[in-house]
């Protein structure tokens, strides 16, 4: 490693002086003409060849370098009259207010200036924050003076007329830039210091432009269209405008034109220079291209999401990455990602040739870039990169491989890659997976990792990145691998786990009534490559048969105990003791399910204190991942065997049940009618803090909500535990009781902003109702179910209520996205020091102990040192209280 000659110790920003601009300029720009009739750039125009090389192969007229080496060179334009730099308007305004109009000194008595300067210098060292508030104080004090303490001249109020006109009220009136420049250049440097300026690098008169730097061509390249026409960059267009306006102003001045003409032309020059710097100024007409598109000038290049900072510096596009649609693959392991051949043959991993892998490397080189697993490049020991697409004799190259060569080989099975889905809101949004190269054009992933990525398969796309060094690979594998992210630091529980069919499958398999023949057991165990003994059959006669609980128990460690209520354990199916009839209390002793079923609260994702959670905590994440691989395959195989599906009839309510449900709704209608009558008669007792009509609405909403729940319950009660829709809702696989109610009984009240729907015509939502009709059906109560079908009016109300949800999500995502951005910007560099304190990179303390208790939620029992209840269950197999 060579030692750098110079070390950057700091960066200081200042204002370019006219002298500096002239000194760094290679040529004065003197003409608005750009090209001559032959299309050759004119010397002294904005495309002057001395400003840098444009075409490859040419040598720079200034520095003699070729396109790749020439850094580009500035030119300059002498303005006929000075103009204000729009970026410094605020500073100029401050200085005009704080300094004397006649002697141009800061309007503070001399002895105070000296005192302040002394204090300011000392403050700046240790208390930059205080120094800046002190400057603010001095500025305000100086601006208040009505009389100059130095020359006793009377002061006038200076007003800023946006965007860049200064007016001295009662004094000279409009202050022209040349007058301001004179004023600013008279302010002594010693006064500027207490006003917060560093006169060494930022004299205020430099904020008025009389020499404009012309940026090199490299920052505003012209592009040749396919028609052969030349299209110039927006900046070039703007520069031509400036030069033209400048020429006209110069002519007017030379010919002694009337003052108004000069002033107008000066104003025009000011406008062009202003929009050259920022084309989105408030109150300034936007400079447009002929097509009507606003010009992208200097500030527009830097600002915003696609700007230089956020778009090219904080975040940039990277190599060794791929993006495509995702789809599910239940046959993968949780740690794996399916990668299409096409992607695997484009992305490469550099692998050093060693005596131990040389045979494999030769194989890759022999296969070449078009056959997987092959290689795209070979780097020889001298650092030369050979593109295998153009190597004639790959066989010879393969023969010649020896240690010291690097082969950029295709992605192969087992490679570690990073996988990501936006928005990357938490650490689990980027996880490391092991590659499985597969046919097809999509990335494939295991369904259990959908929750951390928040992914589904309605067209979602994801990104994949290939680490290029051993260090990066090791880090990805040790810290980011899916199985190491199973436990979420948010609540300490598993964020990766069973979802949807895994849950219904687990339930169906472990049902008390699931009896399997030897063939079925063999089928199930074959899908998970089980190679141990088949246990004793639970039923010996008339044929040997096994229970589903027995099959599932084969996956549990033999020393594992667990007791927990299942999702099913509620209402009439609630179990509180081990002898419960309903089989809704899961009891695992010595690795065998003795009672209970497997459902969401047992193996579900985002379920703390579940069987899955304790398995992972006690047996390790590796075991956890392997358990999921096997258990979920088992569940899916079983669900295939029994066939879980639903038909229209499954949500069709029983006639008798529906009748009682309709009665409930009818009763609620008359109850609402009674409320409305009372309201009209003025007999309604208002809720504290509410008006009478608000009270009525609250009461009606309450009555109708209760009616919906009640009528729903009457129907759901009649549903059979064999009904697949009901099974899915009860086990937590998908859907809720409310969803079932809405499908088969009653949709219920539709609302906008938490109120019954009332917008529309005067006093009514639709012309089908009477004015002032407050009845349930006139205000969006949908009495039909999806099964029965909605009337046209009900469809309208449903659409109105549904629209709100869509708007809400759209608004929420943009708002929380912005909040996330600001939070991350504030927190990204904080770290936990060895003393467990949280600090910023400057050593500032943020928290004296991480999270006040310095506890990692993933590594403790819910913040406590020991989880006594769990230890008892784990070791004794029973729980003290349920």
């Amino acid at each position: 490693m060579s030692k750098p000659e110079k070390v950057v110790k700091g960066v200081k920003f200042g204002v370019l002086s006219p002298e500096m601009i002239r000194r760094m300029s290679v040529t004065a720009i003197v003409t608005p003409e750009v090209y001559d009739e032959n299309g050759i750039p004119i010397e002294g125009g904005v495309m002057d060849p001395r400003l840098g090389v444009i075409e490859p192969g040419q040598r720079c007229a200034t520095c003699g370098n070729t396109l790749a080496q020439c850094p580009g060179h500035f030119g300059h334009l002498e303005l006929a009259k000075p103009v204000i730099h729009i970026g410094y308007v605020k500073h100029i305004y401050m200085l005009l207010k704080a300094t004397c109009r006649s002697c141009n000194r800061v309007k503070i008595p001399e002895e105070d200036v000296v005192k302040y300067r002394d204090l300011y210098r000392r403050l700046r060292e240790r208390w930059p924050q205080l120094a800046s508030s002190m400057v603010e104080f001095i500025r305000q004090r100086a601006s208040k003076a009505l009389e100059c303490p130095h020359c006793k001249a009377r002061q006038f109020r200076v007003r800023l007329e946006k965007p860049a006109t200064f007016i001295e009220e009662g004094g000279r009136g409009k202050l022209y830039p040349d007058v301001i420049k004179q004023w600013l250049s008279n302010i002594p440097s010693s006064d500027l210091e207490v006003l917060g300026l560093d006169p060494e690098v930022a004299r205020p008169e430099w904020m008025i432009i009389n020499v404009l730097p012309i940026p090199p061509i490299a920052v505003r390249p012209s592009i040749v269209l396919e028609t052969g026409m030349r299209a110039e960059d927006d900046l070039t267009h703007k520069l031509v405008d400036i030069i033209r306006a400048n020429e006209k102003l110069k002519e007017a001045l030379n010919s002694g034109a009337p003052e108004i003409i000069v002033e107008d032309l000066w104003e025009l020059l000011q406008y062009h220079v202003m929009t050259f710097i920022d084309n989105e100024l408030p109150g300034v007409p936007v400079a447009k291209r002929r097509s009507g598109m606003p010009l992208k000038t200097l500030a527009q290049r830097l600002k915003g999401k696609e700007g230089r900072f956020r778009g090219n510096l904080s975040g940039k596009r990277v190599d060794f990455s791929a993006r495509t649609v995702i789809s599910p693959d239940p046959n993968l392991d949780v740690n794996e990602v399916g990668v299409p051949y096409e992607v695997a043959m484009t992305l490469t991993v550099p692998e050093h040739v060693t005596p131990w892998n040389i045979d494999r490397m030769r194989e890759y080189v022999l296969n070449g870039p078009y056959k997987w697993p092959g290689a795209n490049y070979v780097v020889d020991p001298s650092g030369r990169r050979l593109d295998l697409r153009y190597v004639k004799d790959r066989k010879a190259l393969a023969e010649g491989l020896k240690p010291g060569y690097v082969v950029e080989r295709h992605l192969v099975n087992g490679d570690v890659v990073l996988f990501n889905r936006q928005p990357s809101l938490h650490r689990m949004s980027i996880m490391a997976h092991r590659v499985r190269v597969l046919p097809g054009k999509t990335f494939r992933l295991h369904l259990a990792v959908c929750p951390p990525y928040n992914a589904d398969f309605d067209g979602d796309e994801m990104n994949l990145h290939v680490p290029q060094t051993v260090e990066a690979r090791a880090e990805a594998e040790e810290l980011l691998l899916v199985e190491k992210q199973i436990l979420s630091p948010r609540y300490g529980g598993p964020i990766i786990g069973g979802i949807q069919d895994y849950i219904s499958g687990g339930y169906l398999l472990t049902l008390k009534t699931t009896i399997l023949t030897k063939d079925q057991v063999s089928d199930l165990l074959a899908t998970i490559d089980y190679s141990g003994e088949i246990p004793e059959p639970a039923i010996l006669s008339p044929v040997e048969a096994w229970t589903g609980k027995q099959v599932f128990s084969l996956l549990l460690p033999e020393d594992f105990n667990f007791i927990g209520e299942t999702k099913l354990s509620s209402g009439s199916l609630k179990c509180t003791s081990e002898e419960c009839f309903w089989d809704t209390l899961l009891i695992v002793k010595k690795g065998k399910i003795l009672a209970g079923t497997v459902d969401k609260t047992v193996i579900g994702s985002q379920q703390p204190k579940s069987l899955m959670h304790y398995l992972i905590m006690e047996k390790g994440v590796k075991f956890g991942a392997e358990f999921m691989n096997k258990a979920f395959k088992l569940f899916l195989r079983y669900i295939e065997m029994v066939g879980l599906t639903m038909t229209l009839d499954d949500i069709g309510p029983k006639r008798s049940a529906l009748e009682s449900a309709v009665k409930v709704i009818k009763n609620s209608y008359s109850e609402v009618d009674k409320l409305i009558e009372m309201y009209r008669a003025g007999q309604l007792e208002p809720v504290p803090g509410r008006t009478l009509s608000e009270t009525l609405e609250i009461r009606i909403l309450d009555v109708l909500a209760r009616a919906r729940d009640e009528s729903g319950a009457t129907v759901v009660e009649y549903m059979s535990l064999a009904n697949p829709v009901y099974v899915m809702a009860r086990t937590g696989a998908r859907g809720s009781g409310l969803n079932i109610t809405q499908m088969s009984v009653v949709l219920g009240q539709q609302s906008v902003r938490g109120e019954r729907i009332w917008r529309g015509y005067r006093g009514r939502v639709l012309p089908h109702y009477r004015h002032g009709d407050l009845s349930p059906e006139a205000r969006g109560f949908v009495a039909s179910s999806f099964y029965k079908g909605l009337s046209p009016l009900e469809v309208f109300f449903h659409a109105a209520g549904g629209r709100e949800g869509l708007v809400d999500t759209a608004v929420r995502t943009s708002q929380s996205g912005y909040m996330q951005r600001r939070l991350i910007n504030a927190l990204q560099d904080l770290y936990v020091e060895y003393d467990m304190s949280v600090r910023s990179p400057y050593g500032e303390l943020v928290q004296f102990r991480y999270g006040e208790d310095s506890v990692d939620p993933r590594k403790t029992a819910f913040g406590k040192a020991v989880d006594i209840d769990r230890i008892i269950v784990k070791n004794m197999g029973w729980r003290m209280s349920l």
């Binding site: 240790r126 208390w127 304190s837 050593g843 303390l845 943020v846 004296f848 102990r849 006040e852 913040g863």
Partner: protein, 85 residues
Amino acid sequence: MSSEKRSVREKVLEHELVPRHELLTKEEALRVLRELGVRPEQLPWIRASDPIAKLLGAKPGDIIRVERKSSTAGVSVAYRFVVVG
């Protein structure tokens, strides 16, 4: 003690929601800074005009010790550096 007689200072400091604040002596302050390995200005700041700082009579340059009730840790201790303002 009748509630009329008690000063605002006492009432504020005894309020349930006001964590315990305590002005450190010079020796205590130096010890805290040494333990944490920080310069005083690297601690979180509190303005001298903050009501609690005024009650304690803290001047810029002082360090205040704050003891908060914490749902996770029971009691958590923090320090504040008093600044002008």
